[in-house]
Amino acid sequence: MDDRHANPFIDMQRVSYVYTPQQRQGHGGQVQALRDINLRVRQGEYVVVLGHNGSGKSTLARHCNALLTPTSGRVLVAGMDTSDRTMQRAIRDKVGMIFQNPDNQIIATVVEDDVAWALTMRGLPAALIRERVEEAMEVVGISDLRERAPQQLSGGQKQRLAIAGVLALRPQCIVADEATAQLDPLSRREIVALLHKLNREPGLTVIQVTHLLEEAALAERIVILQQGQIVMEGPPTDIFSDLERLRRLKLAIPEPIELAARLREAGLPLAPDALTVEALAREMAR
């Protein structure tokens, strides 16, 4: 057994989840959103969870920090069971979440106060708060925006702010649930690059949920959900080698990947791990 299995940070064991009609607020009967999910995420790993709308990927994300707890099966975070209410606070300190709509995550009227919010609520000493807030703003690159009103920020800056707020709590893991979906393409790339940076330097575990294949190219592992089940799992080179299957899973194939596949088919040797625009350009211009 490799060490991923020996010592997982997040360990989902036969997790199923059913939304009740009450939760769906009149949008129909009960829905099984997750079916028998077994997923282990190692400390320091970068996992992308892919799927189209309704595949269950957001439901899965919410199980990582006890926002939802399984209808059956169990989720362990650093050994703590998310269904154990006495553990939920400790779990949320370890696993921070970023959501799709940055506006819903902003509380304070000034950037640095917003970063400090959760720390202030926890009643930490002012000096410690200041230090943590400085550091978090620095890491995500919003130090120069500290005195601005969050509403004045662009979508990408708001997401950086949301990430800073989570980082200030010094989590071990960040779960980004479609955090780029409402951003323009450049900001989208910047946020993905930031998540990779946090994975490399402080060595945070990152679980990035998205419906965009191009955001998954640099992951260590990709997990694809469909109708609440894991249907594909592996490193990007494996996942991207079966474009037909990805298409059937309703995932849009990035055009450069498609182009590379057609050129390979026509007999041009291109390295299978060239999955980004930059890497493909190097391979083609060689």
Partner: protein, 288 residues
């Protein structure tokens, strides 16, 4: 050449004139061809939404003129209701504005307010639903809230179409939709353009979307029109787009990188098929 359906002449828009004023649009002159699909692109805050809100009279120019189908929207006594029937607008996340109990009632909301005859309302609603791929026999009686996100958005689109506009303005029409729903939306939009001859103005920051749909692009940056032309032309200027916070579609970016590494690739290359044929030819010595 026929007269453009929308013309702006030195259009300037200033929010809150005075010491705190913000120039949202600065001296914009452009023309939108009848029957075209024009995309307005730019980052958040570049003035895209402000610009299109001048096209149906939601905003009036601070200075300069906006002429829609020969009519000056800033002139005294302009019939704004008629203008808004002529220029329909689908706002961002329009499904959040659905509220009726049935799809029919939601789409019929506009035509009913126009006091059209019942038969005419029905005809328009059915036609609009059929056009957006929600056959009325199947969908008219359903609740809009039990539909998928993509279907809900098309209900909202049908609501605008039922007003029989000549110009359709769409503000970020596919944001938040998944790949399939997006493809479907594009398909029906093309169909509206072809079958109804509607002029489409698209506000977008999704370059892949723009490359698929638009035949003309206008790039806004800090309230100014900084570049316009057909997509092929605009996307060949990747470096400049970056300066304005925009990115060319990934395929255009790849081709730009190949050019930088010394490969000769004509600026007109835009589609996957074109790129494939070209590269297969260029790299034929390496093909095994």
């Amino acid at each position: 050449m026929t007269e453009p359906i929308i013309t702006t002449q030195h259009l300037t828009c200033i929010y809150a004139p005075g010491p705190q004023q913000k120039v949202a649009l600065n001296d914009i002159s452009l023309e939108i061809e009848r029957g075209s699909c024009t995309a307005i692109i730019g980052v958040t805050g570049s003035g895209k939404s402000t610009l299109v809100q001048h096209f149906n009279g939601l905003l009036r120019p601070t200075s300069g003129r906006v002429i829609v189908n020969g009519l000056d929207t800033g002139a005294a006594g302009v019939d704004l209701q008629a203008l808004r029937r002529y220029v329909g607008m689908l706002f961002q996340f329009p499904e959040m504005q659905l509220f009726e109990r049935t799809v029919f009632a939601d789409v019929a909301f506009g035509p009913r307010r126009q006091k059209l005859e019942r038969r005419e309302v029905r005809r328009r609603v059915f036609h609009a639903l059929d056009t957006v791929g929600l056959p009325h026999e199947q969908f008219a009686a359903r609740s809009p809230f039990e539909l998928s996100g993509g279907q809900m958005r098309r209900v909202a689109l049908a609501g605008v179409l039922a007003m029989s506009p000549s110009v359709l303005i769409l503000d970020e029409p596919t944001s938040g939709l998944d790949a399939d729903a997006r493809e479907e939306f594009y398909y029906y939009l093309q169909r509206i353009k072809e079958e109804r001859g509607v002029t489409i103005v698209l506000v977008s920051h999704d370059m892949a979307e723009v490359a698929t749909l638009a035949d003309w692009l206008c790039v806004l940056h800090q309230g100014q029109l900084v570049m316009q032309g057909p997509p092929r032309h605009i996307f060949a200027h990747g470096d400049q787009l970056r300066k304005w916070g925009l990115a060319a579609p990934p395929l255009s970016e790849l081709l730009t990188l190949l050019r930088q590494q010394g490969m000769t690739i004509p600026a007109e290359t835009l589609t996957l098929d074109e790129a494939f044929s070209l590269l297969r030819l260029k790299l034929k010595d390496r093909i095994v």
